[in-house]
Symmetry: C2
Subunit: 705 residues, 2 copies
């Protein structure tokens, strides 16, 4: 009986054992094929193609270990296995309600040619839209605890592709994108956000476009217990080489591992059209299934927050203007209030009222807790305690008030990157949250990391983010991480990890040169390939001078108002902020209606039109409803986007409400001009959307009454 079941299993999974493999080994699905071989020096290589088009030319695989006995020398092929998998699964929340996971898997067993003859497996999964592979270290006497010194994975591009890239800063992803040929990658003139990158080092997800029409995205999936992968670009040969983020020791060590273990998946999404890249579920599929059993407490949601008013210099995070505060021993009630502290009880009530009135689920409050007087840039360990409110923030009163209004307060834990401090206080901080009825927390990691010498994207911090996802889950808390490592699909495994920032958000428009109009057309192809972003869309008061003329001179959001609405659809997240101030929305309640209506969880998603750096039009069907929402955005060019509504149910009548750029609108000259019109539509309708320079359009489509 047992043998029978085994045979059945082998048959259904397509398992084929090959005791005596003959190189090269090939796996394929649809048009994507992958070949693995040993080069003349005995070093493993892989090759990827899409139909007849080369995607990755023969590229090296391998890892160097700190003990000098790594997988960087000659290897012998011990064996290989192949299997076919085709199944599907349903995410707790997502862009679609059902995800097909279909791949052919090739596992290659390698052994060092030299002593101690350590074993290394490389597992490849070939999907219809790309390839994932990872290194696996089997349990073996010759390899128990070990340190990865360098990963030698190479992505040899066949040509000088166009690339959408940001510098390889180990501590920040908050850059505007550069669009150049691979041969022109050079960040030496880009101002560092945290740590200056080597000039030819870039981050992933790296979006590439080939002259032959292929679109490629290189990233990783399931980044766990390992540093983030950056890419060193050889501008002459068009080779990309893995650069892992180092640890604090200064020895160049990258990852401390214990066998059995494996690396994250290295991913190559490839398609002959741009929308297919955005529709890919390859990275989610390479992540492990959900680690939670009970998920009813996980709620996709929209929120407002005491937040943007600090960015526009109308209020402050800090309660007093005194600097040089010590967390221990300070009597906060004796500080002199600066009179414009945002997180005061009355102001928070105003946001609660607004959320309740408009059906938004929650209110984020930043600056509620003591320590903001000189929290940044001091590399200070004892910076926040996460449980002591400022004297003007009444926790209990607000808890009761929010509850009476049916609104949740969202906790904020800025760590100032003093992560050791946060970790030792997390238990108490989460207890405090539960006691006060908070069920979601936004975390932040501004500044240099403590443990000193560690990086935001190194193994130690990667493990911190994972632990935080786990520790919040244990407490049935949702989490949104800012300044964390960029996502790699872990929200499949930890769906309470609703979103991350980990890119240049809308906030940069408030206090920097801002985000160029193309920015939001690139992010879905780069940062969002790994998971949802808390971009904080919805700024209506585009010109920021009116909030504080002295400090915001010339500052503005680099889109039209209508484009801000479109972002709720084009920038996928189960957690969407209505980021502007209530008084900004109250001036445009007709436009605000879209934010009230738009869903945050979806049954289906269609990428209708897309080109990175230029335009994007996305349609999504609200979860469990016969409602569709469409977002359409452009870069600095005015465009007409033709949207066929053939995704609607045939024969049904709908009413579309179209929030479009107004006549003469443009992101820089006339950003707030918008027009709203209603029209009946069916699956046969075609809408022509006129997008202003830096503009956009949002459409809600509901069944006709």
């Amino acid at each position: 009986m047992r043998n029978f079941l085994l045979v059945l299993l082998l048959l259904t999974t397509g398992y084929q054992a090959k005791a005596q493999p003959t190189a090269p080994l090939t796996a394929r699905l649809d048009k994507v094929s992958l070949t693995v071989a040993l080069d003349p020096d005995g070093r493993p290589t892989y090759t990827v193609s899409l139909g007849a088009k080369p995607v990755i030319l023969p590229s090296r695989l391998g890892l160097a270990l700190a003990d000098g006995k790594g997988f960087d020398g000659p290897m012998t092929l011990v064996g290989s296995e192949m299997k076919d998998v085709d199944n599907s699964w349903q995410p707790v929340w997502g862009e679609v309600k059902n995800i097909r996971n279909h791949y052919q898997q090739l596992t290659v067993h390698l052994r060092q040619a030299a002593a101690p003859g350590r074993l290394l497996d490389v597992t490849f999964r070939v999907f219809a839209d790309g390839v994932g592979f990872r290194y696996e270290f089997p349990a073996q006497p010759a390899l128990q605890y070990f340190t990865v010194q360098d990963e030698l994975t190479e992505f040899q591009l066949p040509a000088d592709h166009k690339a959408f890239w940001i510098p390889g800063d180990y501590d920040s992803n908050e850059y505007a994108y550069s669009t150049t040929r691979i041969s022109q990658v050079n960040s030496s003139n880009i101002e560092a956000i945290q740590l200056k990158s080597a000039p030819e080092r870039v981050q992933t997800p790296l979006m590439l476009k080939a002259d032959n029409g292929l679109y490629l995205n290189i990233h990783e999936a399931a980044l766990l217990n390992y540093p983030a992968m950056m890419l060193n670009v050889d501008t002459k040969t068009f080779s990309l080489r893995s650069q892992l983020v180092p640890d604090a020791t200064g020895t160049g060590a990258k990852a401390y591992l214990q066998a059995p273990e494996h690396t994250p998946w290295r991913t190559i999404i490839v398609a002959d059209n741009a929308p297919a890249v955005l529709a890919s579920k390859l990275i989610l599929n390479l992540n492990e299934p959900i680690a939670l059993t009970e998920t009813s407490w996980i709620k996709p949601q929209k929120f407002v927050g005491v937040w943007w008013e600090m960015h526009v210099n109308k209020a402050s995070w800090n309660y007093a203007d005194t600097s040089n505060i010590k967390l221990a021993g300070t009597d906060w009630t004796r500080l002199k209030a600066n009179g414009h502290h945002g997180a005061n009880t009355a102001n928070v009530k105003r946001y609660i009222d607004f959320a309740a009135q408009h059906g938004l689920q929650s209110v984020l409050v930043e600056g509620w807790n003591v320590g903001w007087e000189d929290w940044a840039n001091n590399w200070k360990e004892e910076v926040f305690d996460f449980v002591t409110p400022y004297p003007d923030f009444n926790v209990t009163e607000l808890q009761q008030y929010a509850q009476s209004k049916g609104v949740k307060l969202m906790m904020h834990h800025e760590t100032s990157s003093s992560v050791t401090n946060y970790e030792r206080r997390q238990d108490a901080a989460y207890r405090f949250m539960k006691e006060h009825n908070y069920d979601a927390v936004k975390t932040g990691y501004v500044g240099r990391i403590i443990p000193r010498g560690e990086h935001h994207d190194g193994q130690w911090m990667v493990n911190h983010y994972t632990r935080t996802a786990q520790r919040t889950a244990e407490n049935q808390l949702m989490v949104d991480m800012h300044e964390a490592v960029r996502p790699t699909g872990l929200h499949r495994t930890f769906p309470n990890w609703l979103a991350s920032e980990a890119a240049r958000g809308n906030e940069f428009n408030a206090w920097s040169s801002g985000n160029p109009p193309e920015h939001e057309t690139i992010l879905p192809f780069t940062r969002l390939i790994g998971g949802p972003m808390d971009y904080t869309p919805g700024i209506f008061q585009i010109q920021l001078e009116s909030w504080n003329p002295a400090r915001n001179q010339g500052k503005q959001v680099h889109t039209t108002l209508a484009k801000q609405l479109a972002l709720y659809v084009t920038m996928y997240s189960p957690l969407q902020m209505a980021a502007d101030l209530p008084e900004a929305y109250e001036k445009h309640l007709d436009a605000f209606q879209f934010i009230k209506d738009v869903a945050v969880d979806w049954d289906d998603t269609r990428i209708l039109l897309a080109e990175p750096g230029e335009f994007l039009t996305t349609a999504r069907k609200a979860k469990g409803k016969e409602e569709w929402y469409v977002g359409s955005i452009t870069d600095e060019q005015a465009r007409t986007q033709t949207v066929k509504l053939d995704f609607l149910t045939p024969g049904m009548k709908y009413e579309a409400t179209i929030y479009a750029d107004g006549k003469g609108a443009s992101w820089d000259k006339n950003p707030q001009a918008y027009q709203i019109r209603r029209q009946s539509v069916t699956s046969k309708s075609v809408l022509k959307m006129q997008l202003a320079p830096g503009g956009g359009a949002a459409i809600s489509i509901k069944p006709a009454q």
Copy 2:
């Protein structure tokens, strides 16, 4: 009224403001005098003498900061203040019940001659037995957050003193002492315990003996928020220069500070006789008063433990012999027990029975919790969870059993130096302790520190130890730290921090070349100057082969049995282990009676005879009782120690029980030979103690019945 009080205050404290100071400034008490001056380059120096004898020749003061604008250049004298203080205080526990704190204080206000003109104070306290001084950074606009790059404090010795030293290992104090002239300090041939020291770097407390009869001890007091101070020895000029333990960044940064702040006190104890150094309360007096209000839960105590049987290879910490265990995901019940796991329920009950029978307060159990299979030397973050017992350790059953016997179980938290892991689990671990009726914890820090790159004796770890003292205190838990930084008198402030190891304990006799017979005569002059040590005395089964002939060949404790008894008096600690196995004690219950009787808290202490590296005889009066205990030990030389009992109450009759080396006893040839005799004594009695080579004697003196 207010002015009147101020005047009164000034009068009583001897405050003298000097607006226009004239260098040099001098403070003195009894025979000790201190002079502060600026050298011709404007750099501050200090000088110490005892009567006419120079103790420290003019020596440099100063600090370099990471921003290059430190206190290492010319300074101007802004002013100074002097005050006299004479008061006394009572420790929660200690060697004496009342401590006089009598000193003259000189505070020197300095300003950088160059911009930005930062201010630095140096405060000196001159006691009758030495000097303490510290750097103080006043609150000032030009100095808020700053990084100490180097401390330039110098101790210029007048001659080539004899020194008792250990290498300047940033991560371990567990060395045997070298006794050489200052000019001969060189550790290049000493095997590193953790991190190889620079050859001419030594640790404090550094004990020195001058040819002119002076005894000096250089150390520090109140080490808080700062790295430990080591000393770089100039073997030609006999100058000692402060070497702070660096942080993880590799930049040479030593301490991250925020003004107002101060360094620990640098201490110089000086006397013309050795016993006076041991009797000094200078370091305790330089520490801050107690930080706790309620202390009834703090209990000096004796304990046994499932511990020595692991050191002598009779039992193991680990439950299984499998290596390569992962904390998460291991089903511990399915591991194959190795059959000699020490912390099993039945064995622990045996220790509980023994403790109950003999009136010992508690039972330490090491190896009770999962993770010991490959806990050491792997630099592994997730090594212990501190709450999961091995399958054969029944927490609830043992809790009930111990309670029924009136015995406490003592918790053990080995961290394997994965301190980030410990910190994030401390809350849960202490909750677990409270739930299971534990009130004391022994912590351990074996191996390399995580955060990786940090050192045991660096600022980050110093803060960890302090926090652990505070977090245990908040939970009314006592703590005993092993492999922590050596103490600096902080038990005055945190009396729940009963003891530390932080030196080469008795355990080294079990598995190394051992501790030479002189070792215990040096420790009180070095390690114990800072505070109590958990040395784990009381080994009766001196030859260790009988426990495990195969693995303990030639291993023995390097003392006689009688000397093991004497250590309970000569090696002060409020926490004393009876370290041997119950079966070892049961063979010598007559000698064990001394361990049962000896106190762990004292009204008074007399250092009767002492010479570092040679001999030590100490008498102590039990707290609240008319009982005295005497310990007398020698190095490898046989000696006669003449002990006058003039400390006894005149006119009272006492019975002395003398536990002496037996005839022909010697540490190496005949270590277990002892004799016990009783005799009546009074304050006029004189006892001649015959100490065998490596031997000792212990005396209990109780009122005659």
